[in-house]
C-alpha cells in the first residue's frame, strides 16, 4: 500500500492503495465514483471507461500507479457548473438506453470521439464504438444521440 495522488474531475485526492490496483476499484471504492462500472475486468466491454488526458481508456486493467499526474474525468465530471454536457443532453433527448449499465462507456467514448472529430462519418462512429458492449441493444438510440450531439456542435460552431 502506498499513497497516491490522483486528479479526478478537477480535484486532487490522496488515496492509500496498492499501486497495482486497477484504477476502476480506486475510483469506485475509495472515491465513491459509481459510474466507472465493472463489466468484464478484461477490457472487452468499456463499462469502466474514463477519460485520461482526454482519451477514452479502460480503467479495469489500468494500474493506479500509471495514472499519477494525469487528468482523469469520469461521467460524474462531465457536467459543468450543474449543466449537462452537450453529449449528455443529446443522449437524454434521444431517450437512449434500456438498463443503462453500459452507458458510462458510450457517453464518454462519444465525448472523446466528438472532441477529436466533431463530424464523424457513420463508419468512424461505428469504429470508435466497436470495442463497447451494450447488451440490451440500444445502439440505434446511441447512434442517433451521437449524430444529434454532432449536429448541435456544428450549429454552435
Amino acid at each position: 500500500m502506498s499513497h497516491a495522488s490522483l486528479k479526478v474531475n478537477g480535484q486532487v485526492h490522496v488515496v492509500d492503495v496498492d499501486p497495482k490496483c486497477p484504477l476502476l476499484y480506486v475510483l469506485r471504492d475509495n472515491l465513491a465514483l459509481n459510474n466507472p462500472r465493472f463489466g468484464c475486468g478484461l477490457g472487452q466491454c468499456g463499462a469502466c471507461t474514463v477519460l485520461l488526458d482526454g482519451r477514452a481508456v479502460r480503467s479495469c486493467q489500468l494500474p493506479v500507479a500509471n495514472v499519477i499526474g494525469k487528468e482523469i474525468v469520469t461521467l460524474e465530471g462531465l457536467e459543468v457548473a450543474g449543466n449537462p454536457h452537450p453529449v449528455q443532453k443529446a443522449f437524454i433527448a434521444e431517450q437512449t438506453f434500456q438498463c443503462g449499465y453500459c452507458l458510462n462507456g458510450w457517453v464518454l467514448t462519444a465525448k472523446a470521439l466528438l472532441d477529436k472529430n466533431p463530424a464523424p462519418s457513420d463508419d468512424e462512429m461505428r469504429g470508435a464504438f466497436e470495442s463497447l458492449v451494450c447488451r440490451c441493444g440500444s445502439h440505434v438510440g446511441i447512434f442517433a444521440a451521437v449524430r444529434r450531439a454532432a449536429d448541435a456542435t456544428k450549429r454552435s460552431a
Binding site: N30, N34, F38, G39, G41, E76, I92, C136, V140, G141
Partner: protein, 768 residues
C-alpha cells in the same frame, strides 16, 4: 482502506427512497413508514388490502406509489407513473415510486413474461382510481359541493364554475383518511385490488398514450443513478466466489497461505463445494480469489461434445412429453400428400450474459433482521428463498431491489445475492459480492437448447394439408424462474442443498408459434433430461422470451420453406393461413413500410455475385401481442457473413402507454435478438462452459447494427395494454433466416447463423 462514502442503513433507506425524483423526507407523510420499515420489528411485507400499501400522498403533494414490480430497463416505472398520474389527475413528475422493497411493497410476483403493464399495472391503476374517489369525497365535504361538480388539475381540486373554491390533494390527504380497505384478488402477477373508485374510460386519457420521457434516464445519463452495484453499507466487506473446476467436481482442499499476504484479506469461506473469499476491500477480494489454492476432484464428463449436442438430444429418452396441439389428423393427411417437406431446426444454449455480472450486498443477522440489496426480477421470491436458506422467519428478511445490469429473465443476479447471503452469514458482517465476468457468462443459468422437427405436406394445388411439429428441448425451467426456494441458487446447490423446484417447461407450437389455420396440425413437445442434476453451468432457465425465438425460428422458417416450395410469396402465404385480423395487420403494416417486394423466394439471380441481398418476413404472436418483422440482409457468398441492413417491425400490443419508450424497447429487442440469431452460442467441453467472456460469447456490436431500424406502432386504445418486453425478440431469427434464403437460396436451419453454417448451406444448395 474503508470506503469513504458509506451510508448507514437508515441513510441508505432514505437514499433509495428518494433516488429518482428528489423526494423530500422532511415534509412527506411517508417518513414514519420509511423509518419504521428500517427498524427490526417491521420488515414484514405489507398486506395489499389497504390503499396506503399502494399509494400515499405527502404533505408536499408528491404521490408515493409502492409496487413490488422492479424496473428492468424498459421504462415500466415511467409507464406506471403515467397510469397513476392519469387516474389522479396530477402531473407525472408528482409521482414517485418505491419499487421492489419487500418491506414496503406488496408481493406482485416480481417481473416476468412481459406482464408488468398487462397485469402488474392493474392494482396501481385501481388504487389510484380509488384514491381519486376518496379525495373527491373529502373535497366534496370541505368545499361544500357534490363530487360530480368537482374538477382536478394537477392535484388541485376545485369547484366547476367557482375555481376560487379549491383545495389541494396534499391538504386533503393530511387531514383525511386514505387508508381505505381494498378488495384483493389473485396473487403474484395476478394480484389485483379494487375499491369504490373506478378507473377512467381509456377514451378520456390525456397522459396515458402520449410519450413521456423516461424518469430513470436523466439520472442515469447524468451519472446520478444508483444501481445495486453502488450500494455501500457500514462495515461492508467484499466477497468473490471460486467455482469448481468443472461440473460435478468436489472440493479436496483450500490452501489460504498465499492469500494471507494480501493486505485486507479476511478469510476463505467453505461450505461443501461452495468456496468464496472475503476481504476488506474489493481489489483484495479479486486478488485473493486468484491466490487461494483450491484443489478439486476431476470434474464429471457430463456434457456431450459440443458438435454432438443435437445428436445427444435426439438420442436421449425424453423425461416428459406433451401434446400441445392436435387438430384434424396430421399423420393420416401426411401419408397421402402430393409433396412432403421435412426439416429440423436447432437452437443452442444461450446466455443472459448481462452487461454487469451479478452483484448484491447482504447483511445477515439470523437472530435479527437480514437485509439483502439485490437486482433481479423477483424480490419477494428472494425474500422467501433466503429465509429458507437461513432458516429464519420470512418476516425477518428484507430484500431491497435495486436495478442491476439488464436482466432478460433469471440471469444469475439471484445466485449472486445468495452468494452474498452465504458469505455474510459466514463472516457475520455485511458482504458485497460481485461476480467476475466468467462467473456470469459461464456459470449463470442458460436459455435451453431446442431442436424442432417439422414436416409439412401439400396437395397437388399447393394447399397445405398437414403440419407436424415435434420439439426436443432441455426444460426451460431446470432452474425455476421463480427463485423462491433455497435449492434454486447455485451457491446453495454447491453447499449440498438439492434443487427440488425445477419444472418441465416445453418448447411448444401453439404457445410460442402463431395460429395458422391449417386443417391438420399435430404438435408434440419433449423435455430432455438435464445434463447434470446439480450446480451445472449448463443448467437452464428463462432467457428472454423462453423458447420463443427457437420455436419461432422453426415454425416461421418452415412457413417460408413451404411457401417457396409452393412458389408463393411468403407474405401472401402467411396471410392465406391466418384468420386473426391483428396478426394480418402487423404483417401487412411491416410489409407496406418496408416496400415489400411481392414475389416468391428465393430472389432471381440469387446464385451469382459476392454480395447477395434479400428480404424475409416473420410473425410473432405472444399473449395478445402481435409483431410482424421484415429483415433485409446482405450475405457475403465468399465469407458466409450475414449483415442485417434494415429491420421494419410493426408492433401491436393493444393500448400503448408510452410510444417513445415502447419504440426504444422494441429496437433493443430487435438488436439483441439479432445478436442471438447471428452470434450467440454457449460453447462447452465435456465438463465446462468455455464461453467465459465477450470474446468467447460475442454479442451484437456497433459494426453489426443495421443502418435502418423502423418501428411501426399499431395502437389499439379500445383494447387493454399487453406485453412488449419480449414479443419482438421472438420472430427475428426466422425473419433473418428467411432473408438469407431469399438472398441466396440457401436455408440455414441452425442458430446462430455463423459464416461457417451459412457457407455450409451454400454448399448444400450446390449439391442439390
Amino acid at each position: 482502506m474503508a470506503p469513504k462514502t458509506t451510508l448507514s442503513r437508515r441513510e441508505f433507506v432514505k437514499d433509495t427512497g428518494g433516488l429518482l425524483i428528489g423526494f423530500s423526507l422532511a415534509d412527506s407523510a411517508i417518513v414514519p413508514r420509511l423509518l419504521a420499515a428500517a427498524s427490526p420489528e417491521s420488515v414484514a411485507t405489507p398486506s395489499p388490502s389497504r390503499l396506503d400499501a399502494w399509494l400515499r400522498i405527502g404533505k408536499d403533494g408528491i404521490v408515493h406509489v409502492f409496487t413490488g414490480k422492479p424496473e428492468i430497463g424498459m421504462g415500466v416505472e415511467t409507464a406506471y407513473a403515467q397510469i397513476v398520474a392519469e387516474e389522479l389527475d396530477v402531473s407525472i413528475d408528482r409521482v414517485d415510486f418505491v419499487l421492489g422493497d419487500t418491506a414496503q411493497t406488496a408481493n406482485q410476483g416480481g417481473v416476468g413474461g412481459s406482464t408488468s403493464i398487462m397485469m402488474g399495472a392493474k392494482p396501481l391503476r385501481n388504487a389510484a382510481a380509488n384514491a381519486r374517489y376518496l379525495l373527491a369525497q373529502l373535497a366534496s365535504r370541505r368545499l361544500g359541493a357534490p363530487p360530480e361538480q368537482l374538477q382536478v388539475k394537477d392535484g388541485i381540486v376545485s369547484v366547476i364554475g367557482d375555481v376560487s373554491k379549491k383545495i389541494s390533494y396534499a391538504d386533503l390527504a393530511s387531514g383525511g383518511d386514505l387508508n381505505d380497505a381494498l378488495k384483493v384478488s389473485g396473487e403474484g402477477f395476478a394480484l389485483n385490488v379494487e375499491g369504490a373508485g373506478k378507473p377512467k374510460d381509456p377514451s378520456t386519457y390525456t397522459i396515458v398514450g402520449k410519450s413521456a420521457p423516461r424518469v430513470d434516464l436523466p439520472p442515469k445519463i447524468l451519472g446520478k443513478y444508483k444501481y445495486v452495484t453502488d450500494v455501500r453499507v457500514e462495515g461492508m466487506l467484499h466477497g468473490r466466489v471460486i467455482r469448481p473446476s468443472g461440473v460435478g467436481a468436489t472440493l479436496v482442499s483450500v490452501d489460504e497461505n498465499s492469500a494471507k499476504a494480501i493486505p485486507g484479506y479476511v478469510k476463505a469461506v467453505v461450505k461443501g463445494n461452495f468456496v468464496g473469499v472475503v476481504a476488506e476491500n474489493e481489489w483484495a477480494a479479486v486478488q485473493a480469489a486468484k491466490a487461494v489454492k483450491v484443489t478439486w476432484t476431476a470434474p464429471k464428463q457430463a456434457f456431450p461434445e459440443q458438435q454432438d449436442l443435437y445428436k445427444h438430444m435426439r438420442a436421449t429418452a425424453p423425461k416428459a412429453s406433451k401434446e400441445t396441439l392436435n387438430r384434424g389428423d396430421a399423420a393420416a393427411a401426411l401419408a397421402n400428400v402430393a409433396k412432403k417437406l421435412e426439416a429440423t431446426y436447432e437452437c443452442p444454449f444461450q446466455s443472459h450474459a448481462t452487461m454487469g455480472p451479478g452483484c448484491a450486498v447482504a447483511d445477515v443477522h439470523t437472530d435479527g433482521v437480514t437485509t439483502v440489496w439485490s437486482g433481479g426480477q423477483k424480490p419477494h421470491d428472494l425474500q422467501k428463498g433466503f429465509a429458507q436458506l437461513l432458516r429464519v422467519p420470512i418476516d425477518t428478511v428484507r430484500v431491497i431491489w435495486m436495478e442491476d445490469a439488464g436482466s432478460y429473465g433469471r440471469p444469475g443476479f439471484e445466485d449472486a445475492a445468495a452468494d452474498a447471503v452465504l458469505l455474510s452469514q459466514a463472516v457475520g458482517k455485511p458482504v458485497r459480492v460481485q461476480w467476475m465476468r466468467e462467473d456470469m457468462t459461464a456459470w449463470g443459468s442458460k436459455g435451453p437448447a431446442v431442436l424442432c422437427d417439422l414436416a409439412a405436406g401439400f396437395d397437388a394445388q399447393g394447399e397445405v394439408s398437414a403440419v407436424q411439429f415435434t420439439s426436443r428441448a432441455f426444460s426451460g425451467g431446470e432452474t425455476h424462474f421463480r427463485p423462491d426456494a433455497m435449492g434454486n441458487y447455485l451457491g446453495a446447490q454447491l453447499t449440498g442443498i438439492p434443487n427440488t423446484t425445477g419444472v418441465d417447461e416445453f418448447a411448444q407450437w401453439g404457445v410460442q408459434a402463431p395460429p395458422y389455420t391449417f386443417g391438420n396440425i399435430h404438435a408434440m413437445a419433449n423435455v430432455i433430461p438435464a445434463l447434470y442434476e446439480s450446480a451445472s453451468p449448463l443448467r437452464t432457465t428463462h432467457l428472454r422470451d423462453p423458447e420463443g425465438p427457437a420455436t419461432s425460428f422453426a415454425v416461421e422458417s418452415i412457413m417460408d420453406e413451404i411457401a417457396a416450395a409452393a412458389g408463393v410469396d411468403p407474405l401472401d402465404f402467411r396471410l392465406k393461413y391466418l384468420d386473426e385480423p391483428r396478426a394480418k395487420a402487423v404483417l401487412t403494416a411491416a410489409a407496406q413500410r418496408a416496400g415489400w417486394d411481392r414475389r416468391p423466394s428465393p430472389k432471381k439471380n440469387s446464385a451469382s455475385g459476392e454480395i447477395a441481398t434479400g428480404r424475409g418476413i416473420a410473425l410473432s404472436t405472444r399473449n395478445g401481442t402481435y409483431v410482424g418483422t421484415v429483415a433485409e440482409v446482405e450475405v457475403n457468398r465468399r465469407t458466409g457473413a450475414v449483415r442485417v441492413k434494415r429491420f421494419v417491425c410493426a408492433h401491436d400490443c393493444g393500448l400503448i402507454i408510452n410510444p417513445d419508450a415502447l419504440r426504444t424497447t422494441i429496437e433493443a429487442n430487435l438488436i439483441q435478438s439479432m445478436g442471438r440469431t447471428l452470434l450467440e452460442e454457449v460453447m462447452f467441453d465435456r465438463s465446462n462452459v468455455t464461453s467465459v467472456d465477450w470474446r468467447t460469447y460475442p454479442v451484437a456490436r456497433a459494426s453489426d447494427i443495421p443502418s435502418q431500424v423502423e418501428v411501426v406502432l399499431l395502437n389499439h386504445p379500445e383494447l387493454p395494454p399487453n406485453g412488449a418486453g419480449e414479443p419482438s425478440s421472438r420472430n427475428v431469427p426466422a425473419a433473418i433466416a428467411n432473408a438469407v434464403f431469399d438472398a441466396t437460396g440457401a436455408r440455414v436451419r441452425q442458430m446462430p447463423l455463423t459464416p461457417v453454417r451459412v457457407k455450409a448451406a451454400f454448399a448444400a444448395v450446390q449439391r442439390e
